[in-house]
């Protein structure tokens, strides 16, 4: 690993493609037969949680600007990733994107160890000369396990710090370290770990900003590689099983409520009508 502060800091950011989590849930359907969730008319997007990790990388680049360059390399796995979606990561400031298309060898929905195994081997494949920091979102918006960052650190045999609300990199006698403000129940912890390390990023850092369309067009010229599982055949095994569990069933929760729309001559009157209706219901 690079202990030389004159060399660029090599940051990897895991970015996932998900169905838009802000989409009306009524459009989402669970398919117990194929173990998939689909959304009629629901557009995929880059996971907002991943965008927090990308934002943390961009902030780190700003912080380090006077001392050293920060290389931002986005990695991601998933079936049939959309090149156009990942252009946003490049337009936002990432230098390169490397994706593993798992369509031919899918990972079971929510299998964090299996996901971390593919990510760890992807990281080794795309960064054979090493890296300094991996940033992930605190969880995936679709699978919601929050476990991949820690599993990835275990498989890469490096420290992990979870739930960062802010981070910075400092030189110390023993080499570079990452200092992390970690979210706690009623405050924060300040943690320090030697690089290389994995840090999972909480939403307090914000999302990477939306970029102008012209930047998206320019991003089309930037490196965006899509690999297939066979490309990783030469990488060292992580020792993790390719699959840790089977998904045997899934069903939709019945959350339907019949909504009574309360109206009034204006918004204030509607508010009064609402309060009266609530009082009736609880009488």
């Amino acid at each position: 690993m690079s202990n030389d502060a004159t060399q660029p800091l090599r940051v990897l950011v895991t970015v996932k493609q998900v169905l838009d989590p802000e989409a009306p849930p009524a459009l989402l359907r669970a398919h117990p037969d194929t173990h998939e969730v689909s959304g009629r008319g629901v557009a995929p997007r880059l996971d907002p949680y991943s965008m927090h990790a990308l934002q943390a990388a961009l902030v780190l680049r700003e912080q380090c600007a006077a001392e050293r360059a920060v290389e931002i390399h986005v990695v991601g796995i998933g079936p049939s990733p959309s090149r156009n979606l990942y252009l946003r990561a490049l337009a936002s400031g990432a230098d390169r994107v490397s994706l593993l298309d798992t369509a031919s060898d899918p990972v079971t929905f929510g299998d964090s160890w299996a996901t971390a195994d593919r990510l760890a081997r992807l990281v080794r494949h795309v960064r054979p000369d090493g890296w300094d920091l991996v940033l992930t979102g605190r969880r995936g918006a679709d699978t919601n396990t929050g476990a991949v960052g820690a599993a990835l650190a275990r498989l890469l045999d490096v420290p992990v710090v979870t739930l960062a609300t802010a981070l910075r990199v400092e030189q110390s006698e023993g080499g570079p370290r990452v200092l992390v403000d970690q979210l706690a129940d009623s405050g924060s912890n300040l943690l320090s770990a030697p690089l290389p390390a994995v840090v999972t990023v909480s939403h307090e850092v914000g999302e990477a900003p939306v970029v102008p369309f012209a930047r998206m067009v320019e991003a089309k010229k930037m490196p965006l590689d899509i690999l297939v599982p066979a490309d990783l055949d030469g990488t060292e095994s992580t020792g993790a099983p390719a699959t840790t569990y089977a998904l045997v069933g899934m069903q939709e929760r019945d959350e339907h409520r019949t909504c009574e729309l309360v109206e009034g001559s204006d918004a204030r009157e509607a508010g009064r009508a609402l309060a009266r209706r609530l009082l009736e219901l609880t009488a």
Binding site: P21, P25, E255, E260, G264, R268, A270, L274
Partner: protein, 89 residues
């Protein structure tokens, strides 16, 4: 309130200006009675509420306070930004 925050199940949950993302609803969907106040008639929250008002929450909440103050007539109470007790995750 939500997947990354608190999970609550009160008798009455009032979602003021909350769009109703899946992440948020995971934290409150067991609530007994759900009220949504939103100026967006397309907000997903409206599909998951028992009672809803489409309108500016400042006015709607002020109207609710009128009634709670006693007589249903316009009173001095006015809602201000920052009065909310919950936020999107």
């Amino acid at each position: 309130v939500g997947i990354t925050g608190a999970r609550v199940a009160p008798e009455l949950y009032v979602a003021v200006g909350i769009s109703g993302s899946v992440q948020h609803r995971a934290g409150m969907q067991s609530s007994q009675t759900v009220v949504a106040i939103n100026n967006d008639p397309e907000a997903p929250m409206l599909h998951h509420a028992d009672l809803a008002v489409v309108g500016d929450w400042h006015e709607v909440v002020a109207g609710m306070l009128d009634v709670m103050a006693g007589d249903g007539q316009p009173g001095p109470a006015t809602a201000h930004r920052g009065d909310t007790v919950g936020a999107e995750p």
